[in-house]
């Protein structure tokens, strides 16, 4: 059992749901990730997705893309991300999922090598958003061998049979995209109850829903059906704004995620 499995098993036993914030490693400043992870845990996150900055993140909207470009300009590399996460891992209970483009996985030496480094740093799982089912065999095998979870994405345009195959190929949890398009917090989220309950008919895995979640009410709406709400751009935007305005991004992130966690209850 991986830590991710344990976390969701504990939550299920207690009838609770998970908040899963996303941060971009090295954003808003180099070194902030090691401070942010404990802050997000204190705020009520169960799992944190740590995005590896990439030059050409086609699935991401402007907020996350700019955060990634900023981190790259500051010189952040995958090795630094692993070191930073590794330095804090033993003090954290949250699950840590590496969100990484396949270009980087391939670029640093392939699935086996990337998964090995992720494992050593203390990551518990992987999401490779630009690796569809057909190309994912090698990475899934490497993740399974290392005991890391690998969550596949399911889009609104994914046909039911394919959604089933994606769920079967996933471990840890399944990532359900609330809407088409790129990441961003602008347009809210549609009702996903039908898609979640259909998914439950063929997969026992926890379902995490992301893309467009930015308020406690939206968190509440998502976890009424799903097991976890993912919050990405809304958090990254606040981190950017706090840094720009000279406020403490860490405290601000903790406050924001804490308020979102209010949506998990009641």
């Amino acid at each position: 059992m991986s830590r991710i499995d344990d976390i969701f098993a504990d939550l299920r036993r207690d009838g609770r749901k998970a908040l899963m914030p996303f941060v971009c490693a090295g954003h808003p400043r180099r070194g902030d990730t090691a401070l942010l992870l404990p802050a997000l845990e204190r705020a009520g996150a169960s799992v944190v997705e740590v995005g590896f900055p990439y030059t050409d993140p086609i699935a991401d909207g402007p907020v996350i893309a700019q955060a990634m470009h900023g981190a790259l300009r500051a010189g952040v590399t995958p090795r630094m991300v692993f070191e930073e996460v590794g330095s804090i891992r033993e003090w954290l209970k949250v699950g840590l999922v590496a969100m990484v483009s396949y270009s980087i996985v391939h670029g640093v030496g392939g699935a086996g090598r990337f998964v090995g480094m992720a494992k050593d740093a203390g990551f518990d799982g992987l999401i490779v958003p630009d690796l569809p089912l057909e190309e994912s065999g090698e990475v899934r095998a490497a993740a399974a061998a290392a005991g890391l979870t690998m969550s596949m994405l399911i889009a609104p345009s994914t046909p039911v049979e394919r959604a089933e195959a994606l769920a079967k190929a996933s471990t840890g949890f399944v990532y359900l995209l609330a809407r088409a398009g790129i990441t961003g917090d602008g347009s809210g989220i549609p009702d996903v109850s039908g898609r979640v309950s259909r998914l439950r008919t063929f997969s026992p895995l926890p379902v995490a829903v992301g893309f467009g979640v930015s308020t406690p009410e939206q968190v509440r709406g998502v976890v009424r059906h799903a097991d976890a709400a993912i919050v990405g751009s809304a958090l990254v935007r606040r981190l950017t704004e706090a840094k720009t305005a000279g406020r403490d991004p860490i405290a601000e992130a903790e406050g924001f995620v804490g308020s979102l966690a209010g949506g998990l209850v009641g």
């Binding site: 996985v105 391939h106 889009a155 995209l177």
Partner: protein
């Protein structure tokens, strides 16, 4: 009775891609799940029209009456004479120009955009989007959209919009909306990112007319097929004009669509030497060139595995070329396949060599080539000198240079102010 063992039939090099979109180790489909349904729909529609004679009749009729095909294969006698004057006895191949610059809108790009616009119509999509570097693909997409009555948005890097301003004006006149992209390097790579992002949210009513043999399957195959009319015409015209196939075909390679179109019908003709010319820029250092086949390594960019210029962490490297259409860190996966198979050789021409060829072609033949195509001319001059006088070299002159005259004049005047050696 002993049976003779079945002789294995060597698979033809042209028999690609696989149904999964693989060209040997290259190609594939590295895109978010959100795009898979749209790519599947496109694959299915393309498979259907491949068996639909009416589609191809309609397309070829348009190519003839609207684009002006077949484009001529022109014997460049004064350019050949220039080469022979500097060649040894019995040397200096005859240079022929495949005049894609004479196609409607001024480049080969229209061959692909009309075909893909017809696909969009058959899929019931009312809007098309495109990325563009030099603006030629943007203009060709805007043209096809106007012809078929489709809405059209073209993504273009802000730096490219500056240096190819004429094409921005043309696209707007054709009714397209030009979206300038300010992210990253503000060139073709970033315009492609934005077009892909648009398509992630719009594919139910929008077709993405990708302009080169790059991107996720089935785009590299579809664009190659639509562009292969170039090579088929070269074949027929060579047999008529030279009474044989050409000895060498030279084409510039950015993403590689004009080269793929010129080469593909010759891939199984081992006697015909094929040479792709990348942008050598101003040097071989990082960020100085745009030559992934010469100086890159396999990696993933924009949805396919191919040679790419990236650092040791998979981050896409900065690139440079005087030509906006070649200023791209990746290349089509089939070119990577041809390179590793040893079928096509890939070389590079520098900014300076391309500018020299640009000027020379204008003055010897009265043809102002696109700066992209000038890279092919530059290598053709080098290659023809070494070839025998009874040999024939075809340059795919992929586009005309009207769009480049301001930029070329600017670059030539900079050079005039700082002669080499200073």
């Amino acid at each position: 009775m002993p049976m003779a063992p079945d002789k294995p039939v060597a698979p033809k090099l042209s028999d690609v891609p696989t149904p999964e979109g693989r060209f040997g180790a290259f190609g594939g489909r590295y895109v978010p799940e959100t795009l898979i349904a749209a790519l599947e729909q496109l694959s299915a529609m393309y498979e259907r029209i491949c068996r639909d004679g009416k589609f191809w009749d309609e397309l070829h009729d348009l190519l003839r009456t609207y684009v002006g095909r077949a484009t001529p294969l022109f014997k460049a006698e004064r350019l050949t004479g220039h080469v022979r004057a500097g060649a040894g006895a019995g040397r200096g191949a005859t240079i022929w120009l495949k005049r894609e610059d004479l196609a409607h809108t001024g480049a080969h790009k229209i061959n692909n955009t009309l075909g893909q616009a017809m696909l969009a119509v058959r899929m019931g999509k009312q809007r098309v989007i495109a990325e563009t570097g030099a603006g030629q693909h943007g203009v060709a997409t805007a043209t096809a959209a106007a012809h078929f009555g489709l809405a059209c948005d073209v993504y273009m890097g802000a730096e490219d919009a500056r240096r190819q301003h004429l094409n921005v004006v043309r696209m707007k006149m054709l009714g397209a909306n030009v979206v300038e992209v300010d992210a990253g390097s503000k060139t073709l790579k970033d315009a492609t990112n934005e077009a892909l992002r648009d398509w992630m949210g719009s594919s139910d009513h929008t077709h993405y007319i990708l302009g080169s043999v790059v991107g996720p399957h089935p785009f590299p195959m579809i664009v190659r097929d639509f562009q292969s009319i170039i090579g088929r015409e070269i074949k027929a015209q060579s047999l008529r004009l030279m009474q044989k196939l050409p000895d060498t075909i030279v084409a510039c390679v950015g993403g590689g669509s004009n080269a793929a179109g010129a080469f593909f019908p010759f891939i199984d003709e081992a006697a015909v030497k094929l040479v792709g010319v990348e942008a050598g820029g101003r040097g071989k250092g990082p960020g100085e060139h745009a030559a992934p086949l010469n100086l890159g390594k396999p990696g993933v960019l924009h949805g396919s595995m191919s040679y790419v210029l990236q650092d040791e962490n998979g981050q896409t490297a900065d690139v440079h070329s005087c030509s906006a259409g070649l200023d791209y860190p990746g290349v089509g996966p089939e070119h990577s396949y041809w390179k590793d198979a040893g079928r096509v050789s890939y070389t590079a021409a520098t900014d300076a060599e391309a500018l020299d060829a640009f000027t020379l072609l204008a003055r010897t033949e009265g043809i102002i080539p696109a700066l992209e195509s000038a890279h092919a001319v530059a290598h053709a001059l080098r290659a023809a000198v070494e070839m025998k006088a009874d040999q024939h070299l075809v340059v795919n002159l992929s586009g005309r240079g009207d769009k480049d005259v301001d930029e070329a004049a600017r670059l030539l005047s900079i050079r005039a102010e700082s002669p080499p050696g200073r």
